[in-house]
């Protein structure tokens, strides 16, 4: 208990509240921008059992905000990395890994054993699924979400209080406009919102202070504006008996075409990363020059031969200057490929920066 000395000596907390933390179990959905600070601080403070639901791998674009991971972690599964590092921070916490996305098939079963659920997901489909599953299973839900420089926080389904559907009854249409990775986010924003989520979790477990029950707090970090809106619970939203058939979940970070420099491609190839390098140039261009590890499928034939590629493993698409490959990459993303990269500058950039023996054209 020496570890928690600063909490056990804290007036209004003490050994009594610390024991409540240690007896509690918390499920964190997502170990990304929001999930990382939630997990770090809940682990540090000494929650008894923490479940983590995450199926993504680390991408370099995660690292401006997901501070638990390192540059060397790229392409490794987040869940294993998170569990390892959190275990080093506090071995007294029991960490349970769910190496999966949350789905209509597994949500209720995963959520059932926990006292509190924390929504750190990054897409509307999962957010509605988490809400509905928490309503059905009767679990309080600590909600946080971010957009550009703004955040939202609430504690849903807590002691008869409002649910997510009491403020936003129906999910938005799937639209480009709301896709988080295209919009971008300042790295520290999920740090702020995630820490508030961890704080609300402590309040729900220990009963200290006033959790955001029936309240939505908005934070504008550009102007330090904090507003609290009262929400009226709608009883019908708590009558839900079963999940919807389809939540149209999209995985935000993953389902987007990402950029890859020739330097990064070179380093990945050297490290022997499991990468499908797809060269979509025409046959005569391929004859002039190519990278030995590449798979060659001319642009016009890619869709017909897509079965030759593995949709779960990363694909880097290459052409002459990076334009055709971008179009093909977008198409692969739409087809459900999980990690698709466009090699910026194409094979011409490769010849200029990496392989000066390569013939250019």
């Amino acid at each position: 208990m020496q570890r928690y000395d600063r909490q056990t000596r804290l007036e209004g907390f003490g050994l009594e509240k610390q024991r409540l933390l240690q007896q509690a179990s918390v499920l964190v959905i997502g170990a990304g921008g929001l999930g990382v600070p939630v997990l770090q601080y809940l682990t540090a403070m000494g929650i008894g059992k923490i479940g983590i639901v995450e199926h993504d791998t680390v991408s370099v674009t995660n690292l401006q905000r997901q501070v638990l991971y390192t540059t060397a972690d790229q392409n490794k599964p987040k869940i294993q990395l998170a569990a390892d590092r959190l275990g080093q921070l506090n071995p007294e916490v029991q960490l349970v890994q769910y190496d999966t996305w949350l789905t209509t098939d597994n949500a209720l079963e995963i959520i059932q054993p926990y006292d509190v659920v924390v929504d750190c997901s990054d897409n509307f489909g999962t957010r509605y699924l988490v809400n509905d599953a928490c309503v059905i299973a009767g679990k309080p839900l600590v909600y946080g979400a971010i957009y550009k420089y703004e955040g939202q926080l609430s504690v849903f389904n807590y002691q008869g209080g409002a649910t997510y559907r009491c403020i936003f009854p129906e999910p938005p249409e799937a639209g480009e406009m709301l896709n988080c990775s295209e919009i971008g986010v300042l790295g520290v924003l999920p740090g702020i919102i995630g820490c508030y989520q961890a704080n609300e979790v402590v309040k729900v477990i220990t009963g200290i202070g006033t959790p955001l029950k029936n309240q939505l707090m908005t934070i504008d970090t550009l102007h330090n504006t904090h507003l609290i809106f009262n929400i009226t619970p709608v009883a019908a939203n708590r009558q839900m008996q079963r999940l919807a058939g389809n939540y149209q979940q999209t995985v935000c970070e993953v389902n987007n075409l990402q950029s890859l420099s020739v330097q990064q491609l070179h380093s990945w190839l050297q490290q022997g990363n499991a990468l499908q390098l797809l060269d979509v140039r025409e046959d005569d261009e391929w004859e002039i020059c190519h990278i030995p590890q590449a798979i060659h499928i001319p642009m016009g034939q890619v869709l017909g031969r897509v079965a030759a590629l593995q949709p779960e493993a990363p694909v880097a698409v290459l052409c002459h200057h990076g334009m055709r490959s971008r179009a093909v990459g977008q198409r692969l993303v739409e087809l459900g490929f999980k990690q698709v990269y466009n090699v910026e500058g194409g094979i011409h950039a490769w010849a200029c920066s990496i392989d000066d023996q390569m013939q250019t054209y």
Binding site: G33, Y147, K148, E150, I228, F229, N230, I231
Partner: protein
């Protein structure tokens, strides 16, 4: 009257604060005016309107001097 905009609603309108006509005397009328003038807002399906820091149902009346805010859903994490 003045309308405080959050999140993507701010981007769609191009400002954190816009004016709406006094003819929008309840939340339903305000939403109709918003959807008409900023059609991309329809994509959101749900749009929270708050009057004086309280969630406001469609039937809620809007009076002069009320603080009215538009809070769209946000999914980022």
């Amino acid at each position: 009257m003045g309308l405080l905009l959050f999140g993507v609603a701010k981007d769609i309108a191009g400002a954190a604060m816009i004016s709406f006509p006094a003819t929008a005397t309840d939340v339903a009328a305000l939403k109709e005016w918003l959807y008409e003038n900023y059609p991309p807002l329809r994509q959101l399906s749900s749009l929270m309107i708050a009057v004086n820091r309280e969630y406001a149902a469609d039937s809620q009346l809007i009076h002069a001097g009320d603080e009215v805010a538009v809070i769209p859903p946000v999914s980022g994490g």
